[in-house]
């Protein structure tokens, strides 16, 4: 293998700026999409545990659609297809006036995709709670909303924190797909450096290290959170 290594190129301008900018974009996308995913996912997951059959069906429909279409196809739908189906005024906004459309489309696409996964976690968290808790709360005179707010959701979320961590890491890694729409995130920055310098190993190594470091950091951080929020009496994660 003859390859002239030049690690210095990573630190030369403008390359270092591209990587830094790409890294920030990746984090931004992951965090924003995660906010959408948590909000929408908690709502959909809760819907699926209600006794109302219509609410249940809406939740199931959402999860099945967003889980069974590849993320890349979903991004293409959001970016190329959905704007065509909008009414004229909305179409004009999306196509002409919206700032940074690739970025925001990716955030929404990633968020809605991950929401289906979050919904499943929230649902399994709520369903893992013994029926007696719900009955006891209802017997004490709580309304359904209060049962969820004060009993089911707090316990449910705490049981599924490890799975939610996985889903967050999922959205962080999946944000790399935004490069297909032209968003300059971390992987795209690595590719751009490759195209300009004909050095492929160094930029991709830099991206690899950054992705691994964030993953490691999130995992260690969440381990602390898991310990702090562990429900007394449960086996929890053995470590």
């Amino acid at each position: 293998m003859n390859y002239s290594w030049d690690w210095g190129l990573l630190f030369r301008s403008p390359h270092i700026g591209w990587i830094a900018q790409g890294f920030v974009t990746t984090i931004e996308m992951a965090v924003l999409a995660w906010c959408i995913a948590m909000t929408l996912g908690s709502l959909i997951g809760t819907l699926r545990t209600l006794d109302n059959p219509i609410a249940k069906r809406i939740g199931t429909l959402y999860v099945e659609i967003f889980r069974n279409v590849p993320l890349l196809a979903q991004l293409f739908l959001w970016y190329y297809v959905i704007p065509e189906l909008l009414p004229a005024s909305a179409q004009k906004f999306v196509k002409r006036d919206m700032a940074d459309p690739q970025f925001w489309t990716s955030v929404v696409g990633l968020g809605c995709y991950t929401a289906a996964r979050v919904a499943e976690q929230v649902r399994s968290g709520i369903q893992s709670i013994p029926r007696g808790q719900r009955s006891a709360a209802l017997a004490m005179g709580f309304s359904t909303a209060q049962v969820y707010r004060y009993v089911l959701l707090p316990i449910g979320f705490r049981t599924v924190i490890p799975s939610l961590t996985n889903d967050f890491l999922g959205v962080f890694k999946n944000s790399s797909l935004a490069l297909t729409l032209g968003v300059m995130e971390l992987t795209a920055a690595a590719r751009q450096i490759e195209e300009y310098t004909f050095h492929s190993f160094e930029p991709f190594a830099a991206a690899t290290v950054l992705y691994s470091c964030v993953t490691l950091l999130v995992i260690s951080l969440m381990r602390v959170v898991e310990r702090r929020t562990r429900i007394a009496g449960n086996v929890g994660t053995a470590r």
């Binding site: 069974n68 590849p70 196809a73 979903q74 739908l77 297809v81 065509e84 890694k173 992705y211």
Partner: protein, 218 residues
């Protein structure tokens, strides 16, 4: 938007079906390779020989921390350098998928083996079974039943993930649709068809997995 044009799909159905075949082919090869390598990795992780367990664990955790797209790019630039001559994108993608999925399969298989209660192993040993026979007749049959639904679900996820080969230009289903969409300027029709096709296939498959799970659950 002008009306939905079915002809563009009918006229290019050969290309699209070819793409779908490539997606299936990729999935099957990656399942076979990923499961074989994943089993070896799982055995290594459960091994009492510490260095082997640590090496396998590091491999799995490292690969799981990376986006698939990055792994695909890595093998796209790495394999030609290693073998010393240019190699087609399809082969590099196969290698990437196998090595990437092996990390995920390893975790599933390991969890399956770990899900078998220690008492089962003790009972087997007490009955006079050797280590190998306990594994073969007591642990693995139960482990396999426990992990079968997850293994199949992972296969469905992988089938969806094959669409990512788009980034290196392998003609899978999505890429074929993209080519047709661009040459005919019909993105709405083509991407919708891709989404609906995946939805139907993956939804049916996941329903079948659910039925299987209920039938074979211990």
């Amino acid at each position: 938007m002008s009306g939905f044009d079915w002809n563009v799909i009918l006229n290019n159905r050969g290309l699209l079906l070819q793409g779908l075949a490539v997606s299936f082919q990729l999935t099957l090869v990656a399942i076979a390779g990923g499961m074989a390598l994943g089993t070896v990795l799982a055995m290594c992780r459960l091994s009492r020989f510490r260095p082997l367990a640590i090496a396998a664990g590091s491999y799995v955790n490292f690969l799981r921390s990376l986006p698939l797209i990055l792994v695909i790019f890595w093998f796209y630039i790495l394999t030609p350098q290693i073998v010393g001559h240019p190699i087609d994108a399809y082969s590099s993608v196969l290698i990437a998928f196998t090595l990437f999925e092996a990390a995920y399969y390893c975790e599933i298989i390991r969890a399956g083996i770990a899900s078998v209660k220690a008492g089962q192993v003790n009972a087997g040993l007490a009955l006079g079974f050797g280590q190998f026979h306990v594994m073969r007749y007591v642990v693995l049959p139960q482990a396999f039943r426990n992990m079968l639904p997850v293994l199949l679900t992972q296969a469905i996820i992988m089938f969806q993930d094959t669409s990512i080969v788009y980034v290196v230009g392998v003609r899978d289903f999505l890429t074929a649709a993209d080519v047709v969409a661009n040459s005919n300027n019909r993105p709405v029709e083509l991407y919708s068809v891709v989404a609906v096709t995946f939805l139907v296939i993956c939804f049916t498959a996941s329903r079948l997995v659910g039925r299987l799970q209920r039938k074979y659950a211990l």
